[in-house]
Point group: C2
Chain length 475, copies 2
């Protein structure tokens, strides 16, 4: 039996008779697509600046109706096994070359495979059991307690839950802020994650964008001007504990000081700390300022699939118990309480987190953070040595550098880009060997891109500062 | 080495030397807690009506710091393995006794265990690849196409994504409705899922609750009165394709007719169909009215962990492509588009769904739906035979009956309750044998609860109608 699969834009014939599950199918790299969906054969040349990935609709794996005799012949099972085996190979290859997003791809949850057979759902409140018995709240609350300790808040003073991702944490934190201050204005720096601006739109909140420094940190001088201009309304502030693109850490103490100096007493502001990646790294960096509930903050969120590493996205959200009562509502159907954004909640994620936290502990994370910072410095130094503009914030493992000229190279290494800059986030699974491979390939490719002098490496002084820019003008 | 685990409120000593992983630890049933968190020793006797589950904080599995020599001794690994083995036993037992929530607990995803090693994330838009290569969009779009065919909308006319749960689908559908009609009023029946009212609050929308019939369906006479009272503003309507408690299916055609008769032209209303459980069953019920994009509806959502069955909650959201452009925003960092509620998205869920849809196909689902409806009728008939008030809506597999007197019985069978009624949702994993076990236990327990005549079975005529109530007054 031969069935046809569309893979990477080309129809591939799969014959189970000759199928070699060990072969790596060369998945074509995504083609460049302009925002309006039109395919281009090279670099984006329209007015639109943003390069989007390819349209998946042409390459999807169609669901097909089983034949009447499939159970008997086993053909369909064989066909599906072949697709999965090929997919696994692609994942291996793509995982190996990944550098751009802050995901720790190095984990082994083999001991938890036995739980995949269960429909584990923590619907409702983590602290109040629902009538549905197949849950993992005992693991969830264990994980939450660990984070509460990390961020210095007592067990009987916090509330929190394991979210589906960093965005859910931000949506929750800002919603809590809005419920505390219904007429509050949301302040967030320009380099804030897009989910925060999405929250403002969803929640119909007035939102003020604050300027940033070259490092990517919030510019508290501008913050002050804007606070004073809106003194009549309470302030809800999103503080970035590591921005998405530059890994810049907003100065929490300075933000609080600016609020106080602008006449905002502690009962007139709410601070949400978006610690997506760095919220879990910073506690282990010696010189770093502390994120702590001993300071006047309202909530902290962090992603679980980033520094910890997890098969699926997840996150941790911690807030003050006093705030959550404003938001929550008892739901009899659940025999629990509704204070989360989502209703049904993935019960596997807390077990993954619980497992890694137990295995590594505070000390294990400390070691990994130090390794990441060391390797990030290595990458930045090698880039500069090779004459490539690059910047690394002091408290970060996100190395920003000139955007590679060729989109195929960008896609191959799965770099995240914005304007003329790209970044590599040095995570625990990013070794010196991997960085060396990347560096040597970049240096080699660059020598071809820029060999005849017609195209020049971009100037990124605006993004990283003159001192970090090695373009022809600034070097 | 002996470590102590808190389990079920009692400290249990675990010694790896004597640990028997095949032993089932008798997890105490959740204790009854009043809404304010105070423990009661029996039935709720305060003013608050809602009985909440126990407080998890006292029974959680603490994360502990590894000892320096754990790697060498293997003690910590053994300890964690023991916890997981005990937990697995509990899950088996709890899965076996579950009847109350609409989750199909019968699935075998062994073939997909190989993928648990990867951090699969479909961040951004399903149809536009992001730069992050470890994704499963080819599966996701295959699943979406299958649902688009089911609900009769062309591939180039729909947009959709795999959500984290039914709530996310509702949050998305109602947000799309609000973006289409910024000043629209949200209409939803009183028996609508709580996520819809949460959406109204989050999105700061005016919300009008519509009365229901005894069946649980929306009362279109009341709907009409309320529509006419708010004729000046567009209408955004949540239509229930199976309510949470009674499994009642709102009459979509009558809802549309009511809108038209009240003077709302098609460009002045937006209908979101919440098909949490029954959205996937109804297409396979012969007499059932159709949910179809050939009718003037805006979006449909359905849960993936309900009728299909999935280790973690997930759902499918389908809307018209024309609507989504109002909502979405290109995000350069992702090289994709932000039109979903969440940012990072679980890439495993689409593969689970793709796998089951391929295995079962339309025909397989049809068979399962028929089995569920048959078994639900069996349960309802046996309940009535035993003199127990019960109701089953024609298009539903949710059997509503008198709330068992003893909360321990409710917890043991994980029944969902509201006021004086409880329900069993007959899912594909609920066999006649299981129902017989449940029935004989219920009948036996009832004979003790009501033996001396001091306590009487509740009258539930208000909830299920006089004809279904077998209390002393109505039988």
């Amino acid at each position: 039996m031969v069935r046809s699969v569309e893979n990477g834009g080309e129809a591939v014939e799969i014959s189970p008779d000759h199928f070699d599950p060990t072969a790596v199918v060369p998945e074509p790299l995504p083609k460049v697509v302009e925002s309006d969906g039109e395919l281009l054969n090279g670099k984006s040349n329209g007015d639109r600046e943003i390069v989007l990935g390819r349209n998946v609709h042409t390459t999807c794996l169609e669901v097909t109706e089983p034949d009447a005799n499939d159970d008997f012949t086993g053909d369909k099972d064989a066909f599906m096994a072949s697709i999965l085996a090929r997919y696994r190979k692609t994942l291996l290859e793509r995982t190996k070359h990944h550098l751009g997003y802050p995901y720790n791809l190095d984990f082994d949850y083999g001991a938890l495979a036995q739980l995949q057979h269960f429909s584990i759902n923590n619907l409702g409140d983590p602290f109040i059991e629902s009538n549905y018995g197949v849950h993992s709240r005992q693991f969830e609350v264990g994980v939450l307690d660990w984070f509460a300790r990390l961020w210095e808040i007592e067990k009987d003073e916090y509330w929190g839950y394991i979210t589906n991702c960093g965005t859910e944490g931000n949506l929750h934190g800002i919603l809590v802020g809005r419920e505390v201050f219904p007429d509050g204005i949301l302040y967030a720096s320009r380099e804030t994650h897009y989910s925060v601006f999405k929250a403002a739109r969803m929640y119909r909140m007035e939102c003020v964008k604050v300027d940033t420094l070259v490092s990517g940190e919030i510019d508290c001088a501008d913050f002050k001007v804007k606070l004073i201009a809106h003194k009549d309304k309470p302030a809800i502030i999103n503080v970035n504990i590591g921005t998405t693109v530059k890994g810049a850490v907003d100065d929490l103490d300075l933000v609080i000081k600016t609020l106080e100096e602008s006449g905002f007493t502690h009962d007139r502001f709410y601070i949400h700390c978006d610690g997506a990646l760095f919220g879990l790294m910073m506690p282990f960096v010696k010189r770093a300022p502390k994120v702590s509930f001993k300071k006047p903050i309202g909530s902290v969120s962090v992603s679980g699939h980033k520094f910890v590493g997890c098969p699926m996205p997840c996150g941790v959200q911690i807030t003050r118990l006093e705030h959550i009562n404003a938001l929550s509502r008892d739901v009899e159907y659940l025999a629990s309480r509704d204070a989360t954004i989502m209703g049904s909640r993935n019960g596997h994620a807390p077990i993954f987190l619980w497992y890694t936290l137990n295995k590594k502990g505070y000390k294990g994370f400390q070691k990994e953070v130090q390794k990441c910072l060391r390797n990030a410095h290595y990458l930045k130094d090698r880039l500069l040595d090779a004459g490539i503009s690059a910047m690394l914030n002091e408290l970060s493992s996100t190395v920003v550098f000139e955007r590679p000229w060729d989109e195929e190279f960008v896609r191959r290494w799965q770099l995240a880009c914005q304007g003329n800059i790209a970044h590599v986030v040095v995570m625990p699974n990013v070794t010196i060997d991997k960085l060396d491979d990347f560096l040597s390939e970049l240096v080699e490719k660059r020598s071809t891109w820029y060999q005849d002098g017609k195209v020049k490496p971009p100037c990124i002084a605006t993004e990283v500062g003159n001192e970090n820019c090695l373009c022809t003008l600034h070097k």
